[in-house]
Assembly symmetry: C2
Homo-oligomer: 237 residues x 2
């Protein structure tokens, strides 16, 4: 098996090591077998676009490895990142289900593999396998909750510092990862700014301030949280 971009390919969903943790992948064998037949697999380099905001939905992408950022932009070039997707996420689901244009752009920020399922194949598949439709509804609910959290933080929180604190805590409470106080930074200040609705400069200043206040520390690209309690107080202020 070729390994472009230095990655191993997971060709068979049934043999996928992460199958169990992934909502959409942890299916009855029969369904998964069928899924395995209708999917096509590809590996993407960094900054590859899986799909672009406004395109007619071609189908869904199941992210197997790597990370992607989901973003939306305004006419004037301002951008918001709505989510950093990780392995196991299903991208483009709501657009594909409802047959409306993709509402976000999905761009790889870490190279990885994604399985693609065309809209037609997916719809057929869902009709055949009712139990999967429930998964779809679950995933949609999840997406909704995430979007919803976004609204809460953007709407209820007018200070960038508060949102910044929230973001840092979100990273440190990363799921599965036992509350690490160290996080590898993978986003540029610009991208962080796009996540919390502020500017690059402000993010830069926030890092400075937070360092000065002993809330955090930077070792190269590793972020160390020094005073979690204080961050939590800021975040919920």
């Amino acid at each position: 098996m070729r390994a472009p971009y230095g990655l191993n390919i997971l060709d068979n969903c049934l043999a996928c090591p992460m199958r169990e943790e992934h909502l959409f992948c942890n299916l009855p064998v029969a369904a998964l077998q069928r899924l395995n037949e209708i999917k096509s697999t590809a590996v993407y380099p960094k900054s590859a676009m899986l799909f672009i905001e406004g395109q007619q939905p071609r189908g869904v992408f199941v992210l197997c490895t790597g990370k992607a950022k989901l973003s939306t932009s305004s006419a004037e070039g301002k951008t918001v990142i709505t989510k950093i997707s990780e392995a196991g996420d299903v991208l483009g689901l709501s657009a594909t289900i409802s047959n409306r244009p993709y509402e976000v752009t999905a761009e790889m920020i870490e190279p990885g593999q994604a399985n693609f399922i065309t809209r037609d194949a997916l719809l057929h598949f869902l009709r055949e396998h009712g139990e999967v439709a429930v998964r779809v509804a679950e995933q949609l609910s999840r997406n909704y909750y995430t979007a919803y959290e976004g609204i809460r933080t953007l709407g209820l929180t007018n200070s960038p510092s508060e949102r910044f604190a929230k973001l840092l805590l979100g990273w440190s409470n990363s799921p599965g990862n036992g509350d690490p106080l160290q996080v590898k930074l993978k986003l540029t200040h610009e991208e962080i700014a796009e996540m919390i609705g502020t500017t690059r400069e402000t993010v830069s200043r926030l890092f400075s301030q937070f360092k000065k206040k002993q809330l955090l520390q930077l070792k190269g690209a590793t972020l160390i949280i020094r005073n979690k309690a204080a961050l939590e107080k800021m975040a919920s202020s």
Copy 2:
């Protein structure tokens, strides 16, 4: 049939005059009949709470008549209104499906009737009637899109005036209603502020400015849009 709060009760979904326009109500007769059996009907006065953010989901409400506002609040009492729900909307769906706490508070702002379906009954119903599960997925996708729009406007738009213009245009393009240039105002400035993430005072000033600029006009509680083109330019600026 009693008519509390001056409203007629729609007791039978099959005979509902608005059945066709409502995504969740326009079902095959067999399914609707069953739905009719498992629902319970109630009429709510203004400012009645259907459910409150954080509560365990008891089930869903199908709004038959009237309007409700969906909102979420922070610890410090700041509030965002995420949506004004109209007849035909299904409230509490994602929370009920995923069995997570209601993520918003639903409060009637115009008295009306709602049919309630318990979580258990709904889940049974969905299993029996697969075609309805598709409706649910559709409705969830819809909700997602709405939430998503919220993020876009809150995140990409930092000026209240822009968001205000957007809101006005949203009203004037109200669905089904052939682009009326007149809209009956039903929200207080405070509530409008909560929709566009600003303060009551700013909304007041925005109305003044927009009137001065001949963009709109007020006749009592009726809003008349005077210069739609200009509003559109502001909204997409």
